[in-house]
Subunit: 267 residues, 2 copies
């Protein structure tokens, strides 16, 4: 890996890094942006995705030697001054570490389901549209060894820049798939031997009493509306015991408590 | 409560709301800013602190009637147009709901300790300098009925605007105090019958095995460095079992798991 110096922000080799924030909204045609040292490390070593190129602030290069040496030799690593970095990114990029990855083919949910091990813990997310929450949930999913995350079409993209950053790269590791119809998928999970458990402030069973082991699918909805009643009717509902008189937990915090309960690590 | 119309951003009655973001950094002489509907509700009904004045976007006023009627009759409620709101706040204030509260006298840590009930769960935070994390930890503390939060001097202020917002108002409810010397305070907690438990990725005991009930003090440090060894030596250390090969949990997620374990709600 020989770093390539770039002095012109309009150099076509760094076109994929242009206007990071605007492109977050407009989309990137099958690419995503990874930022920061830890996420770059995950992308280059523990990721399901392929890196396409890396853009580094010149003064960060030395500190990344250990990470960059794990990259495929053909991966272009571009090095720029702070002024060029900011002009490419379109805002002050203090971290100074960016990479473009390729999303590749989406995994069909049925294929991901078919590939799960005999003992498995999966999340099913419904309406989680906040990138911080998606990122934090993926981080918790990785920490507690979840095998897959299924997202309904109203969830936001886990490969959005901020979601990847908040996940500390977990969004690049934990396999996920979008399910077009969560109701139908619930049936498929049940047929595949999964216990469907929905987390709900009005759940019937204290989560501490829920059976773990085997195959568990844990459903999480938005903080405000929660999971739709039509879904709750078809599964066991779990509550996290809380002090009276206070607003419910943040959904990412709830995911940590629930995943920890179902996590089967023999430690 | 009769709303007072303000048309001049320089009106001295709304001076406390000027340049919200800059004042976040410079400080506000014993005041804090609460923003958003839920936080305003907490401030006016469930808070340890006194509200000084409220500033509302005209089109939000009707939706707040139920909350504002709980306010003391003498509390000034100022109403402004969007243009005046943005000029006062110094940036586009889409939420359109702001309030100033008074910090009042800080509670000395020893007084807060002395006032705790016989069964008590408290947090001791060391080096938590990120406002999102402080806010999320307070939200979890309220959800799981923690009786108090003690902060070492390197933690950030829970009454910082963003911390209050992320806490959904919990920073205004859960009593807290700053401890000048965490080592000395650890001794004081032990003398007061508290079990000192430190969360640490290298903890000796799986948290699921830790005794709960009675008086429990739970110590949380930063994600990177964790709690100082000098502190860990003097207490039992707890780990949260996690899948191998992944970065540790976010400190707020860890607080949710640990508080849920120690939460004593008979539900």
């Amino acid at each position: 890996m020989e770093p390539i110096r770039i002095d012109d922000p309009a150099d076509p080799r760094v076109a994929a890094f242009l206007d990071i924030r605007e492109r977050d909204l407009a989309g990137r045609q099958g690419r995503f942006v990874a930022e920061g040292k830890v996420v770059l490390d995950v992308l280059l070593t523990g990721s399901r995705f392929e890196a396409e190129s890396v853009l580094i602030l010149e003064n960060r290069l030395a500190g990344l030697a250990g990470i960059l040496e794990k990259a495929p030799p053909a991966l272009p690593v571009y090095v720029v001054s702070a002024a060029v970095m900011d002009r490419i990114a379109g805002f002050p990029m203090h971290r100074g570490i960016l990479a473009i990855g390729r999303k590749g083919q989406e995994i069909p949910a049925a294929d991901l389901l078919a590939a799960l091990p005999e003992r498995a813990l999966v999340l099913v997310l419904v309406g989680i549209a906040n990138h911080d929450n998606i990122g934090a949930i993926f981080r918790n999913a990785a920490a507690f060894g979840a095998d897959a995350v299924f997202l309904d079409p109203t969830c936001c993209d886990p490969l959005y820049r901020k979601a990847i950053r908040v996940s500390v790269g977990a969004a690049l590791k934990v396999p996920f798939a979008v399910i077009p119809d969560v109701g139908a998928f619930t049936g498929l999970l049940a047929e595949s031997g999964f216990d469907n458990f929905a987390l709900s402030p009005r759940g019937n069973l204290d989560i501490r009493q829920a059976r773990h082991g085997g195959r568990v699918a844990l459903y999480l909805g938005t903080e405000g509306e929660g999971l739709p009643e039509s879904l709750l009717r078809h599964m066991r509902t779990l509550r996290i015991a809380m002090a009276g008189g206070f607003d419910s937990l943040n959904v990412a915090a709830a995911s940590a408590v629930a995943l920890h309960h179902f996590f089967d690590g023999s430690d």
